[in-house]
């Protein structure tokens, strides 16, 4: 066994060397292109969400090339497939940076994949644009977070439910998939709700495994919790695949949005595409973008997307908009810096402002998070969301939650002279510790 194994390893490494040699020639020959890495899973469990982002990135690169490229050079997207395998994310990121010499990487979806590539990006000093809403409690020099931090999604969503328009909710079910994003978000929400005077017995927290499909017990527990004479709502951080059976069970057990609304943070147009939404009308989602947003920029984006993907039934979603904003920010920063050198771009991108698809401008802040509007939408019978509430202005992403004891004293500012992602204002030292 050992003998054959080492032979295989030899053959593999020989193959890798040959492949590497072959790859390096065209790379040198095509010096008039700037390479952009796309690190999204195209197979495995996360392919369902991430493949769309890969296509969106290719479309954005195509469009930039049609506009004349960048710094007089053509852009070239380098697509790799980390196959929903977290350690493979780190390997593929290393491959993109060291071998393909990409100028920046756009990618990752789950927090665990992001955590696994962080050391690679700081070691090899490159840039990652991360487009998905996440739990916060992080700010890295090499990462730009274009998705929502908890205060750009979770907190305003809860505020809406507490308001008169949202039904003055008094009792809360925090339902989530069992991993880092729901756990941290729920921790923040629990602290926030308690700060708002919600009693501990009016909060129920429940977790289910990934890909959970038998929701009978959970849904009837929600029903039971909701029959205590107080207005109840569910805040759902249930992820991906588990959502379809969850909503089907809600519909079948007759839980109407008017009685117990479900506010979701991970359900977008794409997740609803696999569902008959007629029984779900009125359930909510909080995002920073909806496909139904009526702006000229969004109409153009949707038309371009349908043309690019050659299917006018494909939906657009919030992480796609995050990539749209992030990519344009990077382009503008490269133009500003006059080079693709990551160090210069990292400094140049702070303060860059680009139009988003909701009719305003998003700006990259010194903490590497961006400003966004927060939208609350209700599910419609056609599988789209209708905006029922919108924050009056833009909300700045807050990386360290003010509601968690560990992180409330921390701030992040990557401009000189501070240049620190976790500065503790209480002790005046860089290097505080967050919840994660």
């Amino acid at each position: 066994m050992r003998g054959s194994f080492s032979t295989i390893t030899k053959m593999l490494s020989a193959g890798a060397v040959t492949a590497g040699l072959m790859m390096s020639f065209p790379a040198r020959a095509a010096d008039d292109t700037i390479k952009v890495g796309i690190l999204h899973s195209l197979s495995g469990t996360m392919a369902i969400s991430e493949t769309t982002l890969k296509d969106a990135m290719l479309m954005l690169i195509d469009e930039q090339n049609a506009k004349g490229g960048l710094l007089g050079k053509k852009l070239e997207g380098v697509v790799v497939d980390p196959a929903s395998n977290w350690p493979l994310f780190a390997e593929k990121a290393r491959e993109l940076i060291s071998k393909d010499k990409v100028a920046a990487v756009f990618g990752c979806w789950t927090s665990v994949s992001r955590k696994s590539v962080l050391p690679v990006f700081s070691e090899l000093d490159n840039i990652l644009f991360y487009p998905v809403q996440y739990e916060g409690e992080e700010s890295e020099r090499n990462v730009f977070y274009t998705g929502a931090a908890p205060n750009q999604q979770a907190i305003p969503a809860v505020d809406y439910l507490m308001s008169e328009d949202g039904g003055s909710v008094k009792r809360w079910v925090l339902e989530g998939t069992d991993y880092v994003y729901p756990r941290t978000t729920n921790k923040i929400l629990e602290a926030y709700l308690k700060a708002k005077g919600v009693a501990a017995e009016d909060i129920m927290v429940n977790y289910t495994p990934f890909g959970f499909s038998d929701w009978q017990t959970e849904v009837s527990a929600i029903k039971k919790f909701g029959s205590a004479g107080k207005k109840t709502a569910v805040v759902s951080t249930v992820n991906g695949d588990a959502n379809v059976p969850f909503y089907k069970e809600l519909g079948n057990q007759g839980i109407k949005a008017e009685d117990i609304p479900v506010m979701a943070f991970s359900v977008g147009e794409e997740e609803l595409a696999g569902l008959d939404t007629a029984p779900l009308v009125g359930h909510l989602a909080a995002w920073n973008y909806f496909q139904s947003i009526d702006t000229p920029a969004n109409a153009k984006f949707i038309a371009d997307w349908h043309k690019f993907i050659k299917n006018d039934k494909r939906t657009t979603n919030d992480p796609m908009e995050a990539h749209y904003v992030g990519f344009n920010m990077w382009v503008k920063a490269v133009e500003k810096a006059g080079t693709t050198d990551p160090d210069k771009v990292i400094d140049a991108v702070i303060g860059v402002s680009v139009p988003n698809l909701t009719g305003g401008y998003s700006t990259m802040m010194p903490n590497h998070h961006i400003t966004k509007p927060v939208l609350i939408g209700e599910i419609q019978a056609d599988g789209q969301f209708e905006t029922v509430s919108q924050t009056p202005g833009l909300v700045m992403g807050d990386e360290w939650s003010d509601y968690l004891a560990d992180s409330k004293d921390l701030i992040s500012d990557w401009r000189a002279p501070l240049s620190c992602g976790n500065f503790n204002v209480a002790t005046g030292k860089c290097g505080g510790k967050g919840t994660n």
Binding site: L42, S43, G44, T45, A47, I48, T51, T52, E164, D165, G166, G167, D178, N206, Y207, T208, P209, G211, F212, S213, D214, Q216, T217, E218, S220, A221, K223, K224, G226, S227, A228, G229, D241, N243, V244, P245, K248, E249, N252, Q253, G254, A257, E258, D259, P261, E270, E271, A273, G274, L275, D276, P279, V281, G282, L284, E378, Q380, A381, E386, V388
Partner: protein, 588 residues
């Protein structure tokens, strides 16, 4: 009358109302109908000039009409209120208009309010007229909000939808509840009683008294009385009335009653509070019993899903001994076949939609069986007796199938609809049974029975068992063992395919569908005893019920872990599972 007149000459509304013409259809009855939109816009200026004149005429006309027939005046009144939807800029303004409409007490408001709740009420941008819109292709058919008659079409860009949210929908539902109390349809009256029960109000007592007096159906009458009791509890009626009300609601014994009584307990004092506390305790003890019953039902239902997923594997792994990691992908292929069948039906034969699953069944069986046959002939037959290689090879096959489906259909979920007979739920006491789960249980048992028959009563089943028991002996007796192997594997795969049809109803149809079931399937087969169909049946149901009893206490994550640990311990004790095959056949 003056008020109506005033409302009619509010700015913006004047134009609206006088662009319509009054026509007498029947003696003493007048119907308002809109003129075509084009004309209105073109005559706008000229109309303004003559507005004063028309106003005067209009007023007189209305006064006259009002005297002639009060109902028409009320209709004009309603129209004036409905027109206010056009200027309501936020949800609370819209809600105020809803309240105003309801305050008229006219049942005619049911149509526009119902449309509003459905999100079908629109304002035409050109003239701020309010219509009910029904999307038909690219354009929207506009209907009159009161009469429901068609009054033109509009492109989506020419109209604005009046936005509704949950709070507004609830307000409309509650308001409609009181209005539909006298409806002819008993279902509507039940719905009304239900809403009024959930939103008790002292002002409801009188209309409910009237409704109870005229109610002929006993079951509806009971509901109405409960709704009245709920309203009595929030009124300032004497204590004796309230005590009777608590007793009545306590007798209802469901979660809604519990919810109501909890609120009463918190807000009242003395004898009423004590009675409520006692009633709550009573309901809680009944509900606890029902909860146990519910857990058993949920367990049986989960068991039926496990049985469906595992039963194909009971053939390929249990009977043939092939560790088939691609089993989940056969389930997925069945689900995708259902999706394709539904797509074809949606596009070409929409009337057949309720039959889609029945049509999909034989197709899913054929597709999965065919793929199974190809896998057996192409890969597995070279690997009999080499379990590790079989495991690796089938694992590879499963990845290939997943990626193939992903390439053909895309990585996103596909929508598989529930036929009408599989949607919704019904109640047995306090137990809510969803139709799709019930049908899946029936289906799983049906598949099991058919499979058992094939295995025990048909020549093919006999050959199958003979080959499994002793391959060389069977071959010597003239059985073509390679073909029996191939067909058995195809049968197992085909069964997995039809399981996919059923599972597409409760799970999402994506390339990852099979992944979620493969571990559970192996668990069931190993636990039940390899090579025994009855073991699979008992294994599936007992795992389902244990899981569902653990879940409320331990949570879904821990519950699953506990079940796995229990199985490991069980296998230590009885390595061959619940129903071990006895005799020489085991080692073959």
């Amino acid at each position: 009358m003056r008020r109506q007149g005033n409302q009619l000459i509010l700015p913006g509304l004047t134009v609206v109302d006088f662009s319509t013409t009054w026509t007498a259809t029947r003696p003493g009855e007048l119907v308002l109908s809109s003129s075509p939109p084009g004309r209105e816009v073109s005559t706008f200026k000229s109309r303004q000039k003559s507005m004063v004149f028309t106003r005067a005429i209009g007023l007189t006309l209305l006064l006259l009409l009002g005297m002639l027939s009060p109902s028409n005046a009320a209709e004009a009144d309603l129209r004036a209120i409905i027109a206010k939807f056009a200027t309501a800029s936020n949800f609370s303004a819209t809600e105020a208009v809803v309240r105003e409409l309801v305050a008229t007490g006219d049942t005619a408001v049911e149509r526009p309010l119902g449309a509003l709740a459905e999100g079908d009420l629109y304002v035409r941008k050109a003239d701020s007229l309010v219509f009910i819109g029904k999307a038909a292709g690219g354009s929207v058919a506009l209907l009159d909000p009161l009469s429901g008659e068609k009054s033109g079409d509009a492109a989506k860009s020419e109209i604005t939808k009046i936005k509704v949210n949950n709070t507004l929908r609830r307000a409309i539902r509650d308001a409609l509840g009181t209005l539909t109390l006298g409806a002819k349809d008993p279902a509507a009256r039940i719905a009304a009683a239900d809403t009024m029960f959930k939103t008790p109000d002292a002002t409801n007592i009188e209309p409910l008294d009237a409704a109870i007096a005229s109610e002929g159906v006993a079951s509806v009458k009971a509901l109405l009385e409960q709704a009245r009791a709920a309203s009595v509890l929030v009124s300032d009626r004497p204590e004796a009335d309230k005590l009777a009300a608590v007793a009545l609601i306590g007798g209802r014994g469901d979660r809604n009653a519990l919810s109501l009584l909890t609120a009463v307990e918190a807000n009242s004092e003395g004898a009423v509070k004590d009675a409520a506390t006692a009633a709550i305790a009573n309901i809680n003890s009944t509900l606890a019993l029902w909860d146990a019953g519910q857990n058993i039902w949920y367990g049986i239902s989960l068991g039926s899903v496990l049985l469906l997923a595992a039963i194909g594997l009971a053939i390929t792994f249990g009977v043939m001994g092939v560790i088939n990691m691609a089993h989940g992908e056969m389930v997925m292929l069945g689900a995708y076949t259902t999706f394709v069948v539904q797509e074809v039906i949606r596009n070409s034969f929409p009337g057949l939609f309720d039959w889609s699953l029945v049509i999909a069944l034989p197709l899913a069986f054929s597709v999965a069986a065919l793929v199974g046959l190809v896998i057996e002939r192409g890969v597995i037959r070279f690997l009999y007796g080499r379990p590790l290689e079989t495991l690796l090879a089938t694992c590879g096959v499963s990845l290939i199938l997943q990626q193939a489906v992903r390439t053909i259909f895309g990585p996103t979920n596909q929508e598989v609809g529930n036929p009408s007979w599989m949607s919704g739920s019904f109640g047995i006491g306090q137990l809510a049974v969803t139709w799709n789960r019930l049908w899946i249980l029936v289906f799983a048992l049906g598949v099991f029975a058919v499979l058992l028959y094939v295995m025990k009563r048909t020549p093919w089943g006999l050959q199958m068992r003979a080959v499994t028991a002793n391959r060389r002996m069977a071959a010597s007796m003239g059985i073509r063992t390679p073909w029996v192997d191939a067909l058995t594997f195809a049968l197992g795969s085909g069964i997995a395919g039809i399981a996919g049809v059923a599972l597409s109803q409760i799970d999402n149809v994506s390339p990852n569908l099979g992944r979620g079931y493969i571990i559970d399937s192996f668990m069931v087969v190993v636990f039940g005893g390899v090579g025994n169909l009855w073991g699979t049946l008992v294994g599936a149901f007992s795992l389902g019920i244990v899981n569902k009893f653990l879940e409320p206490y331990a949570g879904a994550v821990l519950g699953k872990i506990v079940v796995l640990v229990l199985i490991i311990l069980f296998i230590q004790k009885r390595p061959r599972g619940l129903f071990a095959l006895k005799g020489r056949s085991v080692e073959a």
